[in-house]
Every structure is written in structure tokens, then in C-alpha cells.
């Protein structure tokens, strides 16, 4: 048997010890509960509804301006299980951002990496290190770590997009740096195609030089050179995959075309297309994810609870939660996750359950 000696009965001595331990900025491991749980995690799934998000974003658009300091009109998803922290999961920031007609959000840059996934509106330009990227619904736009970025809405309609950042992770790593750009915004041309797409937008063709200047990425290549992945491409690629195979569900990952690895070292993006009537296998994965419904309707079962959803709804699936999906209308789900980080620390683990989950509760759309 394991026990080697019995603890002293004399509580007075123990109490004195514990008091001295605390005063020395120490804590006895044997009194700490929950530090090493058998499995992740105590967090529950959570859903935010498109209608609420749009309604509140619009009201904020009416009442709150965008100026230096705030910089952005953003409503952050604050998961109720995170004790008031403004985070969607322990590693991911999720939010909706609203930019009204004619509005501008000034340049800044930061060490956390970000993506934008367009929910509604058209014709906004995000300048990434000065390169104007036109934004349309379903487009994914990157603003990698330390890249200057600013948003311009030159049109007549507002735009709402989903913001995803690795901010909680980078905050916990004590690695956040932030810098404001100039107050004046950058002039730009309203080109349909960004320079990053011109250089890196064709599969398998890698720019080598122009005149005598090499156009290759530097050795320290940390993120995709492509600043946007177009919905028109994503849509066609998924169609093709399903048509070519007769499949009922398919997915793509957004990757760095120069390495095939995730678009940025901390954030994984995927688009999953489900045809009606196909229920995906139930899987658990280490790491957390935010699902954004781009189009269609359906339901996801997460740890036994069925969450019905429609376009614009946002669901959080915690680490190691059992998850499956089923569409009622053809549906496209955008997934943002911390997968690359989980892989980098050597803890990637995915399990497919042998049987569909039993539904114990339903949260209606």
C-alpha cells in the first residue's frame, strides 16, 4: 500500500504550518482540489443568437462612435462560465464588430492574431499593412500578429463581421504588445483584389522574383501571406468536393499556401458544409472552438444538449466536448479553434464516439 506515514493529528501544528506556508507565498498541493481534473473541462457550451447580436450591434452603431482609444465598435462574447472575463473560451476571443456607412476605424497593431469573418454587408475595405482587402459576406480576412490594420466602410450599408482573436491565450502567455498607428487613415485604391491575392492567390504558383527582387517570404515565415480567403472560392471548392464524391458533408481548412499549415500559428479556420439529413459522427477534440453559422439551419448536439441554429448564430464548443452536427437546410459552418496551439504543445487528441449521442435537452433557435 502506498501510504508511507500518517499525518499528524495535532491540528495546532498543522494550522501553524499552513499559516506559515501561506505567508511564504506557498500553497500545499495536497489541499488544492481540481488542479488536475481527470478530464477537461468544467465549461459548458454556449450560444449567442444572430438576432440579438445584430440588434445590439445596430444599437451600439447608433449610440457609440469610433474614436481613438476605443478604436473599434466591438461586442465581445463573454462566456458565462469564465467569471466575467470577456472571452468566448479560455484561449479565444470572439466578437461581433459593427461598422456603419462611411465609418472608419483607425490603424493599430498588436501581437495577438485576428481573423474577420463577414456576416452581413458589403464593400468594406480592411487595410492590412496598407494592402486594401475588400470584404464580402463569407470572406475570411486575416490580420496577423503585428500587422497594421484599419477598417474603412466607404459604402451606404453597415457591415457586421465576426472577430476572432487568440487574445486570452496571448494574454496568459504575458505576450501582448499593442501600438497605435497614426490618427489619420491611409489612402487606398478600391481595388477588387488585394496585392496578397495577386501574389499568392493561385494554387501551386509561388512568386520567385520581379526584376532582380526576390518576392519569396523571409525565413521566419510565421503566417499565411494570403490576407483573405474568398467565399466564392470556398463555396465552389466545397461544391466540387461534394459533387465529385457524392458526399453529404465536407470541410476545408484555411491554410498558408506556402506551407500547407494553419493560416496563423495560433488560430485554425475551417469551413464545414452539411447537406440536409446527414448527421456527422460524434467527436471529442482537445482544444476549444467557436462555430459561426454562415448559412442554413440545423442543430448541433454538444455533450448531449441539442442546440438548434440558423444563420449568424454563434456556438462555443468547449475542449473535449462531444460534438455532432445535422443540417435541416444546407448549412455552412465556420469554425475557429486553437487547434495549432494544442498541436504545438503535443496534446492533440481526437476521439470518435462509437454511437450517436443521446439528446437529453434541446435549446431551440
Amino acid at each position: 500500500m502506498v501510504t508511507t506515514r500518517f499525518a499528524a493529528d495535532d491540528d495546532g501544528d498543522l494550522d501553524a504550518l499552513y499559516q506559515d506556508v501561506a505567508e511564504a507565498d506557498l500553497q500545499p498541493l495536497w489541499l488544492l482540489k481540481g488542479l488536475l481534473p481527470e478530464q477537461p473541462s468544467a465549461m459548458r457550451p454556449h450560444v449567442w443568437r444572430a438576432k440579438t447580436l445584430r440588434h445590439l450591434a445596430e444599437r451600439a452603431g447608433d449610440l457609440v462612435g469610433i474614436d481613438r482609444g476605443g478604436d473599434r465598435r466591438v461586442l465581445g462574447l463573454a462566456h458565462p462560465d469564465l467569471g466575467g472575463l470577456p472571452f468566448a473560451t479560455r484561449t479565444l476571443w470572439g466578437a461581433v464588430q459593427y461598422l456603419g456607412p462611411g465609418e472608419l476605424a483607425p490603424a493599430h497593431r498588436h501581437s495577438p492574431s485576428a481573423i474577420r469573418f463577414v456576416l452581413e454587408g458589403s464593400g468594406v475595405f480592411t487595410l492590412v499593412n496598407g494592402d486594401p482587402v475588400r470584404m464580402e459576406p463569407g470572406d475570411l480576412v486575416l490580420t496577423p500578429s503585428y500587422a497594421w490594420h484599419e477598417h474603412h466602410n466607404p459604402g451606404n450599408e453597415p457591415m457586421i463581421w465576426f472577430d476572432g482573436l487568440d487574445l486570452p491565450l496571448i494574454g496568459n502567455l504575458d505576450a501582448v504588445f499593442f501600438e497605435n498607428g497614426p490618427d489619420e487613415l491611409t489612402p487606398y485604391d478600391e481595388v477588387p483584389v488585394s496585392r496578397s491575392e495577386q501574389l499568392h492567390g493561385t494554387a501551386g504558383l509561388r512568386p520567385l522574383y520581379v526584376d532582380s527582387s526576390l518576392t519569396q517570404q523571409p525565413a521566419e515565415h510565421r503566417h499565411s501571406p494570403l490576407m483573405t480567403y474568398r467565399w466564392v472560392d470556398t463555396d465552389r471548392a466545397l461544391d466540387t468536393m461534394l459533387a465529385a464524391t457524392g458526399g453529404r458533408a465536407a470541410a476545408l481548412r484555411y491554410v498558408d499556401p506556402l506551407t500547407g499549415r494553419d493560416m496563423m500559428p495560433t488560430l485554425r479556420g475551417e469551413m464545414h458544409r452539411l447537406l440536409p439529413g446527414h448527421r456527422t459522427p460524434t467527436t471529442r477534440t482537445v482544444g476549444s472552438g467557436i462555430w459561426v453559422v454562415h448559412r442554413g439551419t440545423g442543430a448541433s448536439v454538444i455533450n448531449g444538449v441539442r442546440y438548434e441554429w440558423g444563420a449568424g448564430d454563434i456556438l462555443v464548443a468547449p475542449s473535449w466536448a462531444a460534438v455532432d452536427h445535422e443540417a435541416t437546410d444546407r448549412a455552412d459552418l465556420f469554425l475557429l479553434s486553437d487547434g495549432p496551439v494544442i498541436e504545438a504543445v503535443g496534446l492533440a487528441r481526437t476521439e470518435t464516439l462509437a454511437h450517436p449521442q443521446t439528446v437529453t435537452d434541446t435549446v431551440s433557435a
Copy 2:
């Protein structure tokens, strides 16, 4: 100018908006302060003294047994700037562990990775996946992610070692798994050299096969196959480096001999030797570190405060803190850091300051 529209003056509308936003589990980014600081981090350095650590560990040894549930007699470093969390930094767990003569700590395993660095005592065996590793002062012992480990003290003297884990990081990634082993401990031979050393302990010689069995590591090679790095080797290697160059300071990194990369994907270990009278350049590095004084005396200046130290003292240097060291007696400093994680997320950054720091305060040993 950047500002696009002014915020409404009508506080009633705004208040209502903020209330609705909160009820919808959202938070307005523009009200969140400190989320994106210009630099890391608000944490201060901190020091724990050898004398206190040993005294409290011994008292715990007298008063608290080791049994299933507690499993280990460990006092965790609880940095006073972390609001009561039992962590040395936001990513690192540090602690002292005490194992009395004849004591045993039963087998368990977990997804967080750990190292042990022996401070005092001799002749303890840690079994790592059943491979007995004898522990002597200055030895570094690994218990990688998911490796079963148990501790045996067959001798007549207690042992105190420093425990370092990536537990806060893995906790924040919601990736902690834990499993108890059998209550009965594993029988073992008191061999001087572990099997891992027999196979991987000679530089540049990689085992290929025995009979028809390949001895190579699997493709998913995640951590060093060497479970211990001996003080006798480390000591000689540092001596040689200094003797060969006439240098006054030198350092080694503990690496996976099959890849040259850090010993484990989340933890970096280094040994720094300082001869008296040499002050190291002042550097800032993204990521946090725990310095354990193995031998000698000296002082480190961290963000302008001079911390004097001696053998067994433990200092925490926060992310991006300015740090330099100077020995009064020849000193050996063991460093545990989260460097590999910072590199994996693409945020590694080190800066050497042009001038020595001005000392604004001194914390005596």
C-alpha cells in the same frame, strides 16, 4: 482625423444598451481597459528563499503523510500578483517537493509535463514509465506528458527537489487529463543508469535496432527520450566551455538528443554558469522564467531591483522583464521557462539593452 461620429449624450439609452449587452453575455470592447497593454506585464519579480523553503518542507515532512489523493508532498510557489492562484507565473508551476527517508509517492500520470531538479539529498529513484532514474543533486529528471511516474526514497536521508510544470498553461488550454496508477508501487532495481541513458546517453549515437526490433522513436516524437541529464555531465560541459574559451559566463540548454529541440514541447531548461565579477548583458525576453540557484552566490537585477541570492533560492522573472546576473562566488543557475511555447505561437522576441540597468532598490539575501 479618425473619429467618425460622436457617441450619444443620452446616457439613458447607453445605460440601457450596456444592460442589454451584459444580459446577452457580451461586453463592449471600448469599455475594457488593459486588455491590450502596450507591453507585458503587470507582474513583478518575486523571490522565495532556500531557508524558508527547506524549513517549511521539513515541517510538512514531519506533519503530513503521503497518501493516495494528495499523492505528493509539494509546496507550490504562489506568486502574490496572481490573485491567489498557486502558480509561479501565468504559464509555470514551480514548487519544492520533500520525500523523507523510506517514503514512497505512488504512480500517476497527467497531460502536463514536469521536470525535477534536485536541490538536496541523494539516492531517490523516480520511475518514469517503469524506468528507474537515480537522482543526485543538480540532476534534471523529466516526467513528460502522460508518462507514469512514482518516487521512491530507499535511503536514510530526505530529498528536496524543485518541481516545474506547465500546469497553468495546460489548464488554460483546457487540456488537463489525469490518471491514478495502481496503489501498489512498482518493484525496481537500484541501477545507477536508467535504460533511457543506456540507449540515448551518448552524443551522436542513435540506437537503430536490437536483433530485429527497431529502437527508433515513433514518428510522433514529442519529447526527449532521455529521462535525465546528469549534473556530472552538465558541470564538466560548462567547465570545458569556459576553459576552452577563457569565458566568464556560459550556458547550456537541455535538449532532445534526437532532434536538438527543447527537452519537452512546453518547457525549456538551461544551466547558466557565472564566474565571479562578470555581469551578464541585460536582456528582455517574451515569456516567463523561474531561476533556481543551484550553487554559489550573487545577485540578479530585474526591472531595476537587485535581488541577492544564494544556493536554493528561487526567483521568478516575468515576461519582458529586464534581467542581468552577477556572481560573487562562482554560481550555477538553473532556468526553467516557457520559451518553446512562445516560439511556437510566433512571438519570440529578445532584446539586449545597450546599457546596464540602474539599480533602484535591493532585496538582500
Copy 3:
């Protein structure tokens, strides 16, 4: 001084030694000249003319059928400096292949890797592991190591294409394997887009799964999953690069979209576009290359000799030769080289000369 002892004068003894050495299947290094030259290589550049190649290919088309055994109607470039070997350089096989209307070339596979670059004709299908790839002028088609491949010309016009293989290299490595497929050809659909393009033809979008089947490449990923790079894409990408920068010359490398590395481990493919009147810098590179003129006219200076060229001409540039190009009409040059092998063995080296080459001779088109 270096010499340590003088050689014996007694030629009789030496002669006897050399005879015994030879009989023992040995050779004295000190008698071998040219084994370790100061620089590569004694090979000269060489040019083959489009007119000759087409004329001879057509005559072969009239006179020689395609049947099992021969398998292909191919005229191999036999560099006159290679002593009768049928190779373009010491590492590269180059050839023109002719497939008449209605002709078929049966399936085989081999360990050497191959590319096809279409010179003339339209509508041929190459089946790569059963996947039909339609071929048009300027298209690059891969038949990687061990991939089954067969050619079908269902149309009314002949096709001529350039064949490039790593055959001399793989032969020298004693690593050639060859296997015939069935005598009967494979039925196929005349689809405009191959399955490989459907799955991997969009930059940055990586197929993840269809239904429950992962579509990811296996861990041992050795070559591009994309079997063709379309001229229409290459042409547009080069246009864009030049238009975006105002440049006069630009180049693209054909890469594996899942890794960004060369399309196959032994063969590098590039397309270089030159606008009239721009002379490229003169460079030397370790490794040999075959330049195929896709369109336009101009001249290349190689080791001081000016070679004029037009569409369909093929030039060999030996290792370490000084090379520059100039177009008279806008020109597109396809380059096939052994660059990845030179890099793999650690000997990549490129030098840009400070001054343009002096032309000592001209070879007219």
C-alpha cells in the same frame, strides 16, 4: 613545406606496384586527374531547335508506331558532351514526345519522376493514377514517382510535348524500378478539370474530409497532390506580378500547394516572363537546367556565348554556367532543373555577377 618524402626513383618497383594495385581493383588517387576539379563542369551549353524537333517528331509519327515495349514515341536530347548517353545533363532527361490523332500510349509506372510541358496541340488526356488530366499548350503535367500514367489523344490533331525526367540521377543512384500496366487502356471521362485540381486547385483551401473520410495526404507526403498547373493560371499570375509592380521580368515556381516546396523531390519547375529590352542579371547556380522557350523570341548568354532563340527551342545550361536572358519579343521560358537535389545534398550556391557578360560568340536562331 608540405612534401614529406620523395617518391622512389626505381620505376621498376613503382610499375610493379601499379600493376598489383590495378589487379586488386584499386586505383592510386595521385594518378587520377580531374576527379576534383576546381569548379564544375566541362560540359558546354547546347541548343536544340524547335523546327528540327518538330520535323523529326512528325517523321517518327509517320514511321514508328507505339506499342508495348517501346511504349512511347519519344526523342531524347543527347547532349554531345555526355559521350553518347541519351541525357540532356548528368541528372536530367529531356525529350520531345509526339502523339498523333487517335493514338494511345499504354500505362506504365517507374520510380523516376516526370513532367510534361505541352508545346503544340490540344485535347490530349494523360491519366495519372486514373485521374484524367486534359492537356493544353503551356500546361505542366506531373507524373510523380511510381504514379501510373498513360496518354490518350482522342482528337484530330497531333500533340508535341516536352518530357523532363530525373532519370540520369535516379539511374546513378541505382534506384530505377519499372512496371508495365495492363495492355488495355483505362476508360475515362473527358472532364475539363482533373480530380486533383478539384481537391487542391484553390490556393489556401485544404480539403479536410468528405463525410467521414479524411482527404488529407498521408504523412509520407513526397510530391504535389496537384497533377497539373494550367497555363491560363500561370499566364495571369505573371501578368499580375508585372502589372502590380511595373517590373520587366518575373518568375513563378511550381510548388506543392500543401507544403510550398518543389512540386516533386527531384525536379524544380519555373516559368520566367521577360518583357522586351530587359536583360536579366547574370547568375551562376550549382545544378543543371533545361530551358524550354514557351513563347516569344530573345537570346540567352551562357558562358559568354549568345544563343538566340524562339518558341519551342530548348537550351541546356550546365552547372555553374553564367547565364542571362533578354527578350526581343515578350517571352516565356520554362525551366526544369535539379535544384531540389542540389539543395538536399547541401550544395546549393548561387552567385550574381557584378557585370554583364562579354559576348564572345553568337549562335543564331
Copy 4:
């Protein structure tokens, strides 16, 4: 059926075509036999005997001096199946080198990489980029690509070592560069341990800095930083592997301690130990190898022929030959192969035969 059209009967036309084809520096593929064999290779195994090698090396020592131009007293293995080329296989140069008491071989460097494996003698120093490496029997010494190297025999006895180079491969890649050093040799200290061993000779300890100078290898890390692998270490490691497992055969690979990969990008080195009475499984491997018997006696069956051997004998095993070994006395076999190149080009392939080879012939020692 495959055949698409019949060849013309009119030999006159065909003859004219073939003549024109030849004059155009072309060759018809369909007339080339053996270009794509079903398997490698037509080469036979070959053996050189220790007694002959030593005897001829000694005679050369008596008759031939070492001076600039020849530079080295080396007898190259010239495989009888290579048509007079002075190479052991199509990719590997093998040789014995003889350096008499007091002799010196001056500095040069070249792009081909080399190893030395000491057969007889003691106390020679090879300077690798000025770092003196003492040589003893069984030691492996590297002189990587472009490293300056010179040999000094300060003692009273001659030394004979085996030289292995990638020269045929690098020659075929047209990538040989060569440079003579100064005529005067470099002064050095007769230290027992080279600087490379001091810095990189302890498993798992990677030098980080001395004073403010980083000692890490540059990013373009192409070969092992360790210039010698000591027999004393190799011997002990093999003993340990066998003792720990009760095995009858074991092998080690010499690797770069900073990467775990082969010691140099083109050459693989291994030491295989066989206890008497154990016959290894029969394997075929793509790529060629030279086996040097370090100690012991036994026999290898290669493609059905049994070659008996003793210390100092050298055998060549061609690519894809079936090979097994059996020791009569405990034996140590050093293997030099082109394995890393075969892997780099994506053609690595090893097959273990289900049954031992039938011996059809024996070549006695």
C-alpha cells in the same frame, strides 16, 4: 489492345530518320534498352581483402611521397562493374589511406563530404577547420563539405584508415569544387579532445553562449558539429544495448547531435555488432553501401553468394541486393551508405525477406 499504328516497313525511311535523329543530337527512346530496368541493378557485390589492402598501402608508403598535387596517399576501390571508374559504387568513393610516421598531408577542401574510419595505427591528428582531432582505431572522423582538412602523423607508427566520400554522386551532380590550402601545415596542440567534442560531445546538452557570444549553429545547419565519434563510446553503447536487452545483434547510427539526422546530408554511417551464431534477417534496401569489418570474423550472404570476412576486409553491397550477416567471432561492421540521399529523393524502400537466402556460392576469406 495498345498498339495504335504499325511502324512503316520501309527501312530506308527509318534508317534515314535514325540518321537524322542522331545528327540532331537526339536518341529514339524506343531503341534504348535497359534505361528503365524492372529493378536495380546490374552491379555485383565485391570484396577487397585487408591483407591485400595493407600490403599495397605499405608498398605505396615506401615508394610514393605525399606532395602538393597528389596531396594524399590513397588507393581507391575501383569496382570491376563500373568500367574502370575509380568508385566503389555509383555514389560512393571508398579507399584506404596510408600515412607513415612523421608524414603530413597538406590542407585542402572540397564540396564532396568525407569520413575517415581508422583501421590501424594511433595518434594521427586530422585538423578540421583547424580543430585537431586525434585518431584511434575504430574512431570515425568527419571532414564535411568545404571543411579544410589536413593530416599529421607525429608518431612512430603508420596509420591506415578507410576513406569514404560522396564523390561519384557529387561528380554526377556537377557540383564538385576544390581548393588547395597553404603549402605550410597548421601548427596545433596535441590535445586529446577536439573543440567540437568539448562543445557537442555530451548527449542532450546544447551550448547556448559563452559570455555574450552565441555558440549555436547557424540557421543553415548542414552537417554534424561533432567532428569525431569515438570508438570507446560506440563500443560501450553497443555493449549496453545488448546487455540491457539480451540481444544478439545491435546497431547504432552516427547522427548530428543537434538534429538527430545523419551526420552529413549525403553520407550515412552505422556500426553493427553481431554476437556469434546470430544470423540477421535478410533485407534489400534501395541505395548502395560499403561494409568495413572493424573487428571479428563471419560471413555475409549477398544475393545468394556467401562472402567470408575478417577484420579490415571491405565489401560492397549494391542497391537492392539481398543481404544478411552472421558472425563466427563477435564482429563489428561499419557501414557507409548513401541512405540520406535516397531518402531525400523520396525513393527509400526496404524489404525484409520472409526466408533466409539459399547460398549458391561461397567466397572464402
